[in-house]
C-alpha cells in the first residue's frame, strides 16, 4: 500500500495527462465527427462516398496502428510536434468516425414523420435539420456519445505505450520501480480510470432516463 501513497504524485500527473488527452482529443473528435456526419448525410454523392470510405478505413484500423503511425511514422516523415500532440492527433482521428456514427444514428433515430412534417410545411434541407431534426437528435445522441467518450478514456491508455506519460505510463513506471507491490499499484491506477468511466456512465444513464420520459 505504501508504494501507492509514495507514488501518488506520479499517479496524479498521469491522471492529469489522461484527462488532458481525453478532453483535447474528445473535442477534436467531436468537431471532426460532426464534419464527417454532415458529409455522410449530405446531398452531394461524392462527399457521401468520401465520408463512407473514411469511416470504413478508420474504423477497421487498430488504434495501436494509428498511434504507431502518429508517434513513429509522422516524425519519420519529418513532422514532429512532440509526442503528446501526436497522440492527440491519433486519438482524434481514431475516435471521429465513432462520433460520426453516434450522431448519424441519432439523426436516423428521429421518427421519419418529423422530417416529413418539416418538409411539408416548406422548410428547406438546412432549416429542417436546424429547427426540427437536430434539436431532437442531439438529445438522443448524448448517451451514445458519452459511451464513445468512455471508450476514448480507455483508449488513451494506448498512448501510454507511445511515449506519452499518462496513467498507463505511470502504471508501467511505478510497477517497474516497486515490483513487490504490483497488485495495489495496478488497482490504484484502475481506480483512477474508474473515476472517469463510471462518472461518465452515470451521466449517460441519467440522460437516457430523461430522454426516455420525453418520448
Amino acid at each position: 500500500m505504501d508504494a501507492v501513497i509514495e507514488n501518488l504524485p506520479t499517479f496524479l500527473e498521469g491522471f492529469r495527462n489522461t484527462l488532458g488527452l481525453l478532453i483535447l482529443s474528445g473535442s477534436g473528435a467531436l468537431v471532426l465527427g460532426v464534419i464527417v456526419a454532415a458529409l455522410r448525410i449530405s446531398p452531394v454523392a461524392s462527399f457521401r462516398g468520401f465520408a463512407t470510405v473514411y469511416t470504413e478505413i478508420v474504423r477497421n484500423t487498430p488504434l495501436t496502428l494509428v498511434l504507431f503511425f502518429t508517434a513513429t511514422m509522422l516524425p519519420y516523415l519529418q513532422f514532429a510536434p512532440g509526442y503528446f500532440p501526436l497522440a492527440v492527433i491519433g486519438l482524434t482521428v481514431y475516435t471521429s468516425p465513432f462520433v460520426a456514427e453516434a450522431l448519424r444514428s441519432g439523426v436516423n433515430g428521429v421518427p421519419v414523420g418529423q422530417a416529413e412534417a418539416a418538409r411539408s410545411v416548406g422548410l428547406t434541407f438546412g432549416q429542417s435539420l436546424a429547427y426540427v431534426i437536430m434539436p431532437q437528435a442531439v438529445r438522443m445522441v448524448i448517451p451514445p456519445l458519452i459511451n464513445v467518450f468512455i471508450a476514448l478514456t480507455k483508449n488513451t491508455s494506448v498512448a501510454g505505450a507511445f511515449f506519452v506519460f499518462e496513467l498507463f505510463g505511470a502504471a508501467r513506471q511505478v510497477t517497474n520501480l516497486r515490483g513487490d507491490e504490483v497488485i495495489p499499484i495496478l488497482l490504484a491506477v484502475a481506480a483512477f480510470y474508474l473515476i472517469i468511466t463510471i462518472t461518465l456512465g452515470q451521466i449517460a444513464a441519467r440522460v437516457e432516463k430523461k430522454v426516455a420520459v420525453l418520448r
Binding site: 484500423t61 488504434l63 496502428l65 513513429t72
Partner: protein, 291 residues
Amino acid sequence: MTSVLYDAPGPKARTRSLVISVVGIIAILAGLIVLILALGAPKMSANGAIQPGLWDATRWDVFTDVQVWRTLGNGVAATLQMAGVAAVLALSLGVFFSFIRSADHKLIRVPAAFVLEFVRGIPVLLMMLFILLVFATGSYWAGVLALGLYNGAIIGEALRAGIQSLPRGQREAGLAIGLTPLSTRFRIEFPQAFRQMLPIIIAQLVVLLKDTSLAFIVGYSELLRVGVRNLPDFFGNRYAFSFFLVVFAIYLAMNLTLSWIARIIARRSGSKLGKAVEPAPEPMPSGASAI
C-alpha cells in the same frame, strides 16, 4: 438514393449537385495525388544527404524476398490465433456473465454487477499488464485472458439486455409448463436473446480482432510487432514506411472481410426475427463498447 430531407432534385439541382460532386471528386483526388507526390519526393535529411522518395524501388525491393512474406504470414497467424482463442473465451464468459448477472439471487447478482462494471470500466491494456505482472503468464496468455475477459463482459451485458428485452410471457410460459427457472433461461430465453444480439456480438468480435494489436505493447509478436518492429529492425530503417503500409493493408483486409461477414450474418438473422423480439430502436445499448 431518396431522402425525405430534401426534394427529389429537379434538372437544375441535379446539374448543380453533379457539378459539386465532380468538383468534390476532383478536389479529393487532387489532394490524394499531392499527398502521394509529396511522400514520393526525395528529401534532404539533417546532414545534407539526399534520401530517395518513399515510392522509390530501393524502399520496396525487400518485398521480393519470400522470407519477408513468410514472416508476415506468421504474424497474421499469431494474430488470428490470439483472436480465435480469445473469441471462444469471450463467448463462453459472456454466456456465463449474462447468467450470473441476471440471476434470481441477490447474493450472486450484485457482486456480479460490480465485477462486470469493474472489468468494463478499465482499459484492456491495463488488464493485460495486470495479468502479465500478477500471474506471470507470458504475453500470449496475458493478451488472450484480458481480451477474453473484457469482451466477455461486454458480450455478457449485451446478452443480458437481450434477455431483458424479451416479453415476460416467454419466461412465464416456460415456468408454467414446469421447467425449472434455470432450464427456462437456458432453453427458452437464452436462444432468443442470443439470436437477437448476434449482430452486436459479432461486431464485438471484430473489435476483439482489432484489439489483438494491443498485445504488441505487452510484447507478443503478432502482426503489428513483426511487421513494424522486427522486420524494419532487421532490414533497416529505410523500409519502415513500406512495412507500415503493408501491415496497414493486411489489417484492413482482415477487418473489412470480417466486418463484411458480420454484416451478412446480421442481415440474415435480422430478417428471421419475428415482431415480438425486434431489437430496440436505440443504437445498441452497450454501443460504445464497440470501439
